[in-house]
Subunit: 274 residues, 2 copies
Amino acid sequence: LNVWINGRNRSTLDYRDRGLQYGDGIFETMRVRRRGIRLLDLHLERLYKGCGQLRIRAPDPLLLRRELERIAARRIEGVLKLIVTRGCGPRGYRPAVRERATRIATLHALPRATPDDAAKAVRLRVCATRLSTNPSLAGLKTLNRLDSVLARAEWSDARIWEGLMRDVDGNWVCGTMSNLFVRRGRDLLTPPIDRCGVAGVMRRWILQNAGSLRLHPVERRIRWDDLRSAEEVFMSNAVVGIRSVRTIEGARLGKLRFIGADTAQQLRSLLDRQ
Amino acid sequence: LNVWINGRNRSTLDYRDRGLQYGDGIFETMRVRRRGIRLLDLHLERLYKGCGQLRIRAPDPLLLRRELERIAARRIEGVLKLIVTRGCGPRGYRPAVRERATRIATLHALPRATPDDAAKAVRLRVCATRLSTNPSLAGLKTLNRLDSVLARAEWSDARIWEGLMRDVDGNWVCGTMSNLFVRRGRDLLTPPIDRCGVAGVMRRWILQNAGSLRLHPVERRIRWDDLRSAEEVFMSNAVVGIRSVRTIEGARLGKLRFIGADTAQQLRSLLDRQ
């Protein structure tokens, strides 16, 4: 059984857990590589930031890190998902402050089409479902993910890798499970994650490392025109890494094609050397 | 044990349940009165509407109704909470369409200060946390409730009954667990629940029955000025019913006092005769 709840090998959970009752928790989806966890420090940083912001009593950092590393060592390649909820409490939205957090770690196989196809550019579609806006939650990978669920339910064509999502004002922010990058010359644009969306760990790594490839990372709102005039578009995600985009298909917006994939390739090489 | 999961008396849940993984589900909180469920038809209507909108395979209506009535009959007065999630699935946002919904019914005692104090006007405060905006989810009582959780965590003073919440544009929409009504003359204003917030069952009942008290219900955005010029303000909630508001306290916005409570009282009498 590849599930550990509070460090114990079990697969069921108390129904009173606030993770279930209200989506009162956060999660991380991590890439297991050579029996280790890629970008573990960045994952833990976001996790503890989220616990702080939601005032969830986070698990002991040393204990958690050891537990994750021990679990990751069971697979050469794979995915390690960690959920941390506020824990159990009585009915009602109000947290009792004294709840003990629940942590649920699960080990999975890599999704198909990974990692061999990493260099292959993917097809994107445009989602009708908008991202949920809330500045108090933006950036965190909380368990409130119904916007992504509804957006991902919009298509079943397996040839479409991802769907692009807009905020309620029509800016393009991210995919259902990945962040968006747009290159024009040496400028590498990515939307700010200040009102909606998840601030991905791979996004963070790219922003930190873009300079070493002489790119200028810029966080700003992205409109359809920015996509249309892009030289290169790619998506990032902690499990899959960096995926070049070949086309974006929007029913009414038309279809965009991208040829450039150099920057994505360079970033991938850099990431592989991590 | 006052918990029934898929009709069986048990209290643990599969960790793969999408209700936990993504908040992929909805719930109803119902008032048990004289061993029956108040406004059951309205609750079921909202529940099935939500299942339809999220494409959750809803439980059989007849089976569900009987189950709820059987559970409610175990208490003279109380609260019956029902969660319906999409059920278990593999990792990933995409629903598999074939999931079997999970239903979790729990029976609780009435919250304190209910129902004897129903006629007592309450104190409200103003919350800093804004409501999450998403037109695709607005109105539904989904398991994505972190906005309410954060807002409810803002105060611990037991003398404050509820906190008023704004949307991201600054309109006053509802409380953390109740809907807002503002009376001026014969006009009964309540905010439209088209971009955020939960369309409460008690709110619906009030809108349906306001006419019989010669009130004109109007759904429109509510600004601070509307509250300031109100003759009467009250909050609604399926468990508690209708609570008159005595004061609204906002740190920077100042303090509003309300004296009128006639309409709330008339609605309460009408509700009691249901």
